[in-house]
């Protein structure tokens, strides 16, 4: 099946892409470049996605959105429609883990467009997810933090076993979501098994 991946360059969408690519042909990536850094729907920043798409040797559909609640879903739908038209995709892959807000909206759009929707990380345990990323040789950099206990010194750090232990400690101390699902930390994939050298 030909699939598009909703791709932000962060760890979850890249890992979802990795899992989907083992079973299906990935035809293109879709990125919504949101001007609203606090969007509940889209990861920001996405300024590295063009470079990452090149490293993945995949075409990229990148569409700007103001990130306003009323219109960002319409912008997403337009981007997916373009992928369906230009690349004949039959389904969409997302990196949704726990956000029902995001997942249900994307499910609705796929249903309207008669596309399969795949969420290979859905409900995955946050610690298991981050450990699996390291095990599968994903090199992931922290690029943005927004939670108690995470100051600017975390930005630029590469997620490894030491960082995971620090995140576990913070989780025990103040309940931090280790995988950053609630926007506590945003990440960028620096290297992964799918990148062309």
């Amino acid at each position: 099946m030909r699939l598009a991946v909703l791709f932000s360059g962060g760890k979850d969408s890249a890992f979802a892409l990795y899992k989907a690519s083992k079973l299906h042909k990935i035809s293109c990536l879709i990125t919504l470049d949101s001007k609203n850094p606090d969007s509940y729907m889209f990861h920001t920043p996405v300024d590295k996605v063009d470079f990452l798409a090149q490293r993945l040797s995949l075409p990229l559909i990148k569409i700007s959105t103001l990130g306003k609640k009323e219109t960002e879903l319409q912008d997403l739908k337009l981007a997916i429609q373009k992928a369906k038209r230009d690349y004949k995709i039959q389904g969409l892959v997302t990196g949704a883990v726990a956000s029902i807000y995001q997942a249900s909206r994307i499910q609705s759009i796929c249903h309207e467009l008669d596309l399969y929707c795949f969420n290979p990380l859905w409900q995955k345990d946050q610690l298991e997810l981050i450990n699996e990323l390291v095990k599968e040789k994903f090199k992931v950099k922290i690029v943005k933090v927004a939670a108690d206990g995470l100051d600017e010194s975390w930005i630029g750090k590469i997620i490894d076993k030491t960082i995971i232990q620090d995140l576990i400690d913070l989780n025990k101390k103040n309940g931090l979501n280790i995988a950053g699902e609630g926007g506590e930390l945003e990440t960028e994939v620096i290297d992964c098994p799918l990148f062309k050298k």
Binding site: A20, H24, I100, Q107, L115, N119, L121, K124, D125
Partner: protein, 173 residues
């Protein structure tokens, strides 16, 4: 051992509709409905038929593969498409009722669902109430849970919200 019956057309959906359930259970085995054998059912202590994606509906064309449910007496939980199958096997009719996302529910106060007020929905269809079954929950649009003896069906996805229903309640049936 709890037997999880898989309805997915595409293996990639196993990560979305099967893994979240097996992650909640200590002792489970997954078998696709197309390869299910009588001995698999005999070995299992309980059975869960898991849900599948909005676009998958092949199981509706192969209901004969689920005729064993009619005489099944061990604890059984049908989730989403699994509840549709449970109902259809017992004479219910499909009813168009699309719900995607968090749904508010009214539940029967003396049932194991009594604490549930909302759930995660991902379906295009519900069912009419099959003869001999009790309705345990409903939304504004449709029936969300049914029961008869040890046979339970829920249209919502307890592996997303209401995980206790799988972790504790279904194990205690």
């Amino acid at each position: 051992m709890i037997l999880i019956i898989n309805l997915n057309k595409y293996k990639l959906h196993d990560l979305e509709f099967i893994r979240p359930i097996t992650d909640l259970l200590d002792d489970s085995k997954v078998i696709h409905y197309k390869t299910l054998k009588r001995k698999d059912l005999e070995k299992a202590d309980k059975v869960i038929i898991a849900g599948t994606s909005l676009k998958d509906s092949d199981y509706l064309k192969e209901l004969d593969k689920f005729s064993w449910i009619k005489s099944y007496r061990k604890p059984f939980l049908g989730i989403c498409a699994g509840m549709q199958i449970l109902g259809l096997i017992h004479g219910a009719k499909l009813k168009k009722a699309k719900e995607i996302g968090v749904t508010k529910l009214k539940t029967k106060t003396d049932s194991m669902l009594k604490k549930i007020t909302q759930a995660y929905s991902l379906h295009q269809y519900s069912i009419t109430l099959p003869k001999g079954f009790t309705k345990l929950a409903e939304s504004d649009k449709c029936i969300h849970a049914i029961k008869k003896d040890n046979l339970y069906g829920v249209l919502f996805h307890p592996e997303v919200i209401n995980k206790e229903l799988i972790k504790k309640d279904i194990i205690c049936i």
